[in-house]
């Protein structure tokens, strides 16, 4: 009984604000907390705002590119950790790969910023900060998540299935593309979706490594909200919830299809 009450409370605090936010995004009134009838005008206003549209486009671009880079590099890291046996410094390697998971974002952001600045001083690249530095930063921490997800999938997978392929004459690279990749594909899809959403809603790291002209959506929202919450932000948030929800839904679907096929 106690647990039931507790979980009701938990879910309430989790979802009530979100529900309220979605609800008020359809509010006709300009006052965020006063209901003034149903309207979709804030959505219209949102799509008429070039600053927000530009930021959204930048955010999506960054999320797409960095999620893709994360998946490639994270998968490589996971393969090295699981399949290449015990090499010297393996524990250190896996520790370093997964460190960004627990590192405070402020520290990650700050250290990356300092890295970029000193790199620019040393080799002249990256020139200033902008889209590419955010992509690099998001790729590094997305990589950690991807590595963990793919690693757990690889550990589950029987090694002798890959051995059977090499026994039948497939070289290691061939084995990877014929056997390993199709079998871990669902994990890669959900890892990509996770990296994508993480990048999409990151504020802290992006704020550190962004430069002029490369403000992401969360950065724009944050700066707007500081001037007072306006209802079009509610509309924007609702759209983002929709996108993220769709992503999670797809990831679950992929996972379910996979387990029903193998089970």
């Amino acid at each position: 009984m106690f647990f039931r009450i507790l979980s009701v409370f938990g879910f309430f605090f989790l979802y009530a604000p979100i529900a309220a936010l979605v609800f008020y995004s359809f509010n006709a009134s300009k006052l965020v907390t006063v209901w003034g009838g149903f309207s979709t005008k804030w959505y219209g206003e949102l799509f008429g705002d070039p600053q927000i549209l530009g930021a959204a486009w930048i955010s999506l671009k960054i999320a797409f590119i960095s999620a893709s880079i994360s998946v490639v590099l994270g998968t490589l890291a996971a393969l090295i950790m699981v399949r290449f046996g015990r090499f010297k410094g393996r524990t250190l390697f896996s520790g370093m790969i997964t460190a960004p998971l627990v590192m405070p974002e402020v520290i990650t952001g700050l250290s990356l910023l300092m890295l970029f600045i000193s790199l620019q001083g040393l080799i002249g690249w990256p020139v200033g900060r902008g889209l590419s530095t955010i992509v690099i930063a998001h790729s590094t921490f997305g990589l950690a998540f991807v590595a963990v997800i793919v690693q757990s999938r690889l550990v589950d997978m029987d090694k002798d299935i890959e051995e059977a392929a090499s026994d039948l004459g497939a070289r290691p690279v061939r084995v990877f593309f014929d056997i390993t990749l199709p079998m871990i594909l669902p994990a890669l899809v959900s890892a990509w979706l996770l990296a994508f959403t993480l990048s999409l809603d990151d504020l802290v790291i992006a704020s550190f490594v962004a430069g002029p002209g490369a403000s992401t959506l969360p950065m724009v929202i944050f700066s707007k909200v500081r001037l007072g919450v306006s209802p079009d932000i509610n509309a924007l948030a609702t759209i983002m919830i929709g996108i993220v929800g769709l992503g999670i839904f797809c990831a679950t679907l992929v996972m379910l299809r996979k387990s029903s096929r193998e089970g």
């Binding site: 029987d158 002798d160 299935i161 051995e163 026994d167 039948l168 004459g169 079998m183 089970g263």
Partner: protein
């Protein structure tokens, strides 16, 4: 009709013959576990060599080293005169059937079976023909489009077998290839394996738990005991002349009587066996130290069981029938000796129950030909 030269059929008897597989001082350790312990073994071309042994004695590990999946801790493997140490699995002239089947879950049966041929770059039409031939062979025609998850255990096993057979490699390594098949299908597949071996000239190494299967299939049997090879020999040799108690007990069933030597001459050995309650006479010596502890091993079917007391026999045991198991072709009689030892004997059921004078609790006599047993010193 010409009679083949005996060393053509039994190349292991010919010391000049080059072995096809030459294993020397092979050891594999997993941390503290010694899975394979200093094994040396020669296997010849066209052999069907069975590896037998209890669970965890290192059979799979030995096969996996031959296929290249485990790197030996020490020792060498040569296949067809070539040292295999630096050769990766995909370049070895071997194919393996895995104990776990290791089917590719995302490919259907035809794709699984044809995978090796696709890697060899064969034309699709050619692959299709060979795949359907081999699936016919393992009686899986019509299952081409199924996924492994849609097959029964025995069907999966046959897919794994077909996938290993299809490339017709020089050396086939089969890890328990027929374990999940029913008796009829198993016998047919055994027959097919022998067929393939004879027509294609493939060398087989087969791991099995089933000693009857090992007997029918193999040219030779290797009995493994925790990482080592306890005995290698032709099926009959291993069965009739086991070298240790482990081998005698592992291949078939056996009655072991412990005893001490009281007389040892070149053509006569007498063992005093408190176990049997008599002195056992054997028509050959073993040249051991006096009073040495040894074991007299006798297979159940070597006993002559009778109700009337036989005359003029040297080895005679008396006991009471404690249990009878009717097995169709033969019956097993468990006889309790006067010493309290339980002895297992087998008798063929020649008449259809008409005679059968031996029943429960009946006193019976057991005898055997003097040369029917084996004396074991370890």
């Amino acid at each position: 009709m010409t009679h083949p030269n005996p060393t053509d059929e039994k190349p292991w008897l010919d010391i000049d013959r080059k072995p096809f597989i030459k294993i020397r001082n092979l050891t594999k350790k997993f941390g503290d576990v010694v899975a394979v312990d200093n094994i040396s073994l020669d296997i010849y071309e066209n052999e069907l060599f069975s590896l037998l042994g209890g669970s965890g004695c290192g059979k799979s590990t030995l096969l996996r080293m031959l296929a290249g999946f485990e790197i030996p801790t020490s020792g060498t493997i040569e296949i067809d005169g070539q040292n295999m140490l630096a050769v990766p699995p995909h370049a070895r002239p071997t194919n393996m059937m895995f104990q776990s089947y290791a089917l590719f879950p995302h490919m259907n049966v035809a794709k699984n079976v044809g995978y090796g041929l696709r890697r060899d770059g064969l034309q699709k039409a050619e692959i299709d023909i060979q795949v359907s031939e081999i699936l016919e062979l393992v009686q899986l025609g019509g299952y081409e489009k199924r996924k492994p998850s849609q097959l029964s255990g025995g069907q999966r096993q046959r897919v794994a077998l077909a996938r290993a057979l299809i490339k017709k490699p020089k050396l086939l390594l089969l890890d328990e290839p027929l374990g999940a098949l029913d008796k009829k299908l198993r016998e047919e597949t055994q027959f097919e394996l022998i067929n393939i071996q004879e027509t294609l000239g493939v060398t087989f190494i087969v791991v099995t738990h089933d000693q009857e299967e090992a007997m029918t299939l193999s040219t030779r049997i290797g009995v493994m005991d925790i990482g080592t090879i306890a005995q290698i020999g032709e099926p009959q040799e291993v069965y009739e002349f086991p070298r240790t108690r482990y081998v005698a007990d592992f291949i078939g069933s056996v009655n072991l009587f412990e005893g001490r030597v009281i007389k040892d001459s070149p053509n006569k050995l007498v063992i005093e066996s408190p176990d049997a309650g008599i002195n056992i006479h054997v028509p050959h010596g073993v040249s051991c130290s006096p009073n040495q502890l040894l074991w007299f091993a006798l297979r159940p079917e070597k006993f002559e069981i009778s109700v009337a007391k036989p005359k003029n026999v040297t080895n005679l045991l008396k006991g009471t029938v404690e249990d009878i198991a009717y097995l169709g072709g033969q019956s097993v009689y468990l006889v309790r000796l006067e010493t309290g030892r339980l002895v297992r004997t087998v008798r063929a059921n020649r008449d259809r129950g008409a005679e059968a004078p031996i029943t429960w609790q009946q006193d019976v006599y057991l005898t055997w030909a003097r040369s029917a047993g084996v004396v074991l010193t370890s």
